[in-house]
Symmetry: C2
Subunit: 645 residues, 2 copies
């Protein structure tokens, strides 16, 4: 049966669509062109897709996140509610994803590798060709004529190109009066060392373009939360623009699991693919504008990202990443073209998706290992990439082991009542007076606080613990003599900012539930690297460097991260915070085919250890669910700080 | 300025479109979705796109084919008339292109080459794979798992596939419970003899499909007039269906030159590409139905056709084929996929467009030389492909020379008042009583005659000459005592069929103008092969075989073709009529990669001789503009036949 569904948005627009009995409200909204955010991927877990039924009846398959009062008022989860009747729906204001550009704090200074040599390291080259014009005595076809010039003038034996480029060659030759500039990708020849391997013709331009004028490439890291892009002049190796933006897939799930679930439903896979492409293409446009280039000028792209992001970008089903025994569709991807992938660049540009190792150790980690130099380290090095998932690598130039632990998105501000991403309005650091329990905090952008981001949560958790507001189990000490410590809706809570000082007018708090989520996140990571080290028989003392990657990692206060038991208690000089090691690895691979080869070797060399198969991990995790740990002797510096207080 | 153009069709439908001042009526009609045939490609030469202006005024750039009376009645050539005013246009009934299916006389018996061995000759193979299912102890990704099985079970070292297929692999492996059937194309490995060359994965199907069940491939010849398709079981080599159809491009030009002109205008190139694809896809559908296969079951296609047809199929600009020094865009095409080309087959099917030699010696000739066996002949062989263009090859297993001469479409029924294609209603053979001048004729399909096709024209020309109705210059002998010989609108003419016996009720005649067109066509071909032979210092007597290709050639009566001086006067046993040698060559190349390689060698070996650069050709052409020739001593059998009469 067909029903009429009328949606009303906050700006009082009404849109009606027809739908069959049993259609989900979220799908009907999609039909109406209305975007309803589904941060949990449509699993009915997050409650953020709630809409209000103002007329008619619906059937709620689940209302897990709704109170009886909510249901009384007609609220229903769009992802869990089906149409059975003509119905009117009010769609509340949707959370906006703010644009975060290069002016934000993600910008990093990049030094071009000192040994970069365009003519020996770069696979993409711009070359000049001078052809003999055809005549009645030489009726060779355009393509053979071009191939001959490539062979005789540049020793390129086996040049191939796509049909759309083949369609343009005759015009380029004639417009340039038989002088042309070709852009070729020599990757196959350089990697095999054999001159007869196919050389890919990316473009053919009439006339002679200055051989050393800018030739654009891009290095991209697709993070679950943020997509980062560097625009690189391949001739000089310089990074000429950086841009970053929230991954447009966030509206369909905040973590990889939610997105995999969403991808498995209806048109979800294509929707997610289009969303991340849209984000990437917006970034490409921004970067192009900044360097005054056109998208067609981008002739090479190197992409890093976790395995789920890579699958979703390429439309490869990702559901087996989530289901035991956790299998990816493909770890080592063939080089593709921008046309195939859908990237707004020269359609013939090579798109090189870097290789991953396993479902939860992706190309972001292999690229990170290269850029952090773990694979060439002389001493044992621990590499942590802390994000929604924690990926851990331990090793040196002779061996590499890796594991992943599902830390959850707590450090990214999700699953925490007043959590938010590290953007304007986020409390990024907190200090608590140990006598008055009054906090001081710093807000990104300097205005009124809206919530607390990852580094703020670590800082807050540590301060609350050291000052005794929290005990080692994470319980709020309700005996503390401060109005900031109180019984809240979800157990004990601590008020970081009163409503009077916050952006929304509501108190910003750290609740017992938040603490539990944060404890689970930090315990997963701590258990991850300790079990990994144990597995290979290395004690943490033997680790000479701890390298922390991820743009999040860059803002962690080491002392506080150690105090909550996220990082091991060792001399601070052994820690190094590297920022986005993934995009940096992609950048190195973009520049230098030998470094690109090394990433493949890294991927092959790394031994992946599946923690979920191991009971030891569960025990280590349980022991780490304390502040800083059940075994305080592992954290001597924290022990002495506690004694001081 | 914008005007309203209202088109009315014969079925009284009216469609209005807005158009700017200066837009061609043909373009405005296209906007309105009305198809106006342009057999000359929009050059204003054929007059077939005439429409009637019933209201408003237009500007006629040319009205070459219209009489003052036509113009008085408002007729205008759609391809030469521009909009200047609001205007109403009546579009007369358009010539229908009749569908000619395999039931027509193009069907040929094909014997599978006796030495065909699927396992050593065919590049496409169906292979079975048995994979170890993944587990927590073996988390290898799906694609690597498949690659390992291909390497270990079939020694295929380097298998690659497209992104869309990569997206389907995980599902196929699981649906087949880790038993799958792969279809691979080994062309690169077989041709190079090196096992590490890329093997193309065409398909992956769940479970084990019988290894020797039908595996479909198709051989296609794209003729300027007719597209012919053979559906082949690659395992047995058998041709299981044949289908042929007029090339849908005919409505946009009857000869290659008209089409090149049309392709150069507006959206012409894309329009022509789509038209021939539509024809090919209709044929594929028909052939699939006949063998009970689905389009996705077709895993390989081999295509022959003249150079212009190949360019237009692939959307490669063809204008330089027409302009001196007559340069093709590409002769040796890379192997593409059905997806890239737009063919309704398995999207990953290899599409192999055979190589051509020059602008007017295309892949139809290289394929024809292979299938006619010219390249392996022990004695000097002359190979003629008589169609709109005449292509000529002379040689043996040691040498090959080739040339082309523009014969024009007279033998295909165009440029002849009552000419038509060889389909139902065409007079295909004529006998004239030498005393009464009364004709007897045979009509294809047996009904009332509609016109005369190529073989009928040759037969008629010969009979009219031998019986004295025509003199050796082609003049009609008006002194002949028959009412059938008379002065017509275009000079003397001979009535083959009176209006009372014809389909249209009008007399079917051979006019002086028709004779001139036929003389030019036959003279071009005769001059072509004589000059070619002279150039290499061979006399026609030394030619031991004359092989005639082209489906048209199959129906020529040798005696009559010699009598008009189209074929050389030699012992009839030396002639062989082979039918469509082009599609047969494509079929052989489809089956056997070594034969495919031989076509490349043929293309490289052939020396192309440009006749238009040569004064000798013009002299030979002029001498051949007689019946049978200025030098009757070259035609002793005709001399004696004339003496008998």
């Amino acid at each position: 049966m067909e029903h009429l569904i009328t949606f009303t948005t906050p700006d009082q627009n009404s849109i009606s669509v027809k739908s069959q009995t049993g259609m989900l409200l979220s799908d009907a909204a999609h039909l109406a062109g209305i975007d309803i955010g589904q941060p949990c991927g449509g699993q009915g877990r997050c409650g953020r897709c709630a809409v209000q039924v103002t007329d008619g009846t619906v059937r709620r398959r689940s209302a897990l996140r709704l109170s009886p009062a909510d249901i009384e008022q007609g609220f229903a989860l769009a992802c869990q509610t089906v149409v059975e009747d003509d119905v009117s729906i009010y769609v509340p204001p949707q959370e906006k994803i703010e644009r975060r550009l290069t002016t934000d704090r993600v910008v990093a200074e990049v030094t071009v590798p000192a040994d970069y040599d365009y003519l020996s390291d770069q696979t993409v080259r711009r070359i000049h060709l001078e052809l003999t014009p055809p005549s009645m005595d030489d009726q060779t076809d355009d393509w053979s004529r071009l191939q001959t010039a490539l062979r005789l003038q540049h020793r390129l034996e086996n040049v191939t190109c796509s049909l759309p480029l083949l369609q343009k060659i005759g015009a380029a030759l004639r417009e340039g009066e038989w002088q042309v500039t070709a852009i070729v990708d020599l990757a196959n020849v350089l990697q095999s060392g054999e001159s007869d391997r196919p050389v890919w013709l990316i473009d053919l331009q009439p006339g002679h373009v200055d051989e050393y004028s800018s030739l654009w490439g891009t290095a991209i890291d697709i993070g679950t939360t943020t997509v980062s892009l560097w625009m690189v002049n391949l001739v000089t190796g310089e990074v000429k623009a950086q841009a970053a933006e929230y991954n447009g897939q966030i509206a369909r799930g905040e973590d990889v699991i939610s997105r995999i679930v969403y991808a498995g439903k209806g048109n979800g896979r294509e929707d997610l693919r289009q969303r991340v492409l849209d984000t990437m293409n917006v970034l490409l446009e921004i970067a192009c504008k900044r360097v005054k280039a056109k998208p067609e000028d981008i002739v090479k792209a190197t992409i890093a990202g976790n395995s789920t992001m890579m699958h979703l970008l390429l439309g490869i089903p990702a559901e087996n990443i989530r289901l035991s025994p956790f299998i990816t569709g493909v770890n080592h991807l063939p080089v593709m073209t921008a046309r195939e992938v859908g990237l707004s660049a020269n359609p013939e540009a090579s798109v090189d998706c870097l290789p991953g190792v396993a479902s939860y150790v992706g190309a972001d980690i292999t690229a990170g290992v290269l850029s952090a130099g773990v694979d060439s380290a002389e001493e044992t090095t621990l590499f942590l990439d802390v994000g929604t998932n924690g990926e851990i690598v331990l090793g040196d130039r002779d061996w590499l082991v890796t594991c992943a632990c599902s830390a959850g998105p707590a450090f990214e501000g999700a699953g925490v009542v007043n959590g938010m991403r590290a953007t304007t309005g986020a409390i990024e650091e907190v200090w608590i007076n140990s006598e008055t329990f009054e906090p001081t905090y710093r807000v990104i952008g300097g205005g009124k606080p809206k919530g607390i981001c990852g580094s703020g949560l670590i800082s807050l958790l540590s301060e609350a613990f050291i000052t005794g507001i929290l005990d080692k189990r994470g319980n709020v000490n309700l005996m503390a003599t401060s109005s900031r410590v109180r019984e809240g809706a979800h157990g004990g809570e601590y008020v970081v900012a009163w409503g009077a000082e916050s952006e929304s007018g509501e108190d910003i708090v750290l609740s017992r539930v938040d603490v539990d989520n944060l404890l689970r996140a930090k315990a997963a990571i701590y258990a991850g690297f300790t079990v990994l080290a144990e597995t290979v028989g290395i004690s943490l003392e033997a680790v000479s460097k701890v390298l922390v990657g991820g743009s999040f990692g860059k803002y962690i206060n080491v002392e506080k991260a150690v105090q909550i038991g996220l990082l091991p208690d060792m001399d601070w000089s052994r820690f190094e915070f590297l920022g986005n090691t993934s995009v940096k690895g992609a950048y190195l691979a973009l520049l230098d085919w030998q470094k690109r080869e090394r990433i493949t070797e890294i991927a092959k060399r790394m031994t992946y250890i599946e923690l979920s198969a191991d009971n030891t991990f569960y025990e280590a995790f349980t022991s780490a669910l304390f502040l800083p740990h059940t075994d305080l002797s592992k954290f001597p510096s924290v022990e002495s700080a506690l004694q001081k207080n």
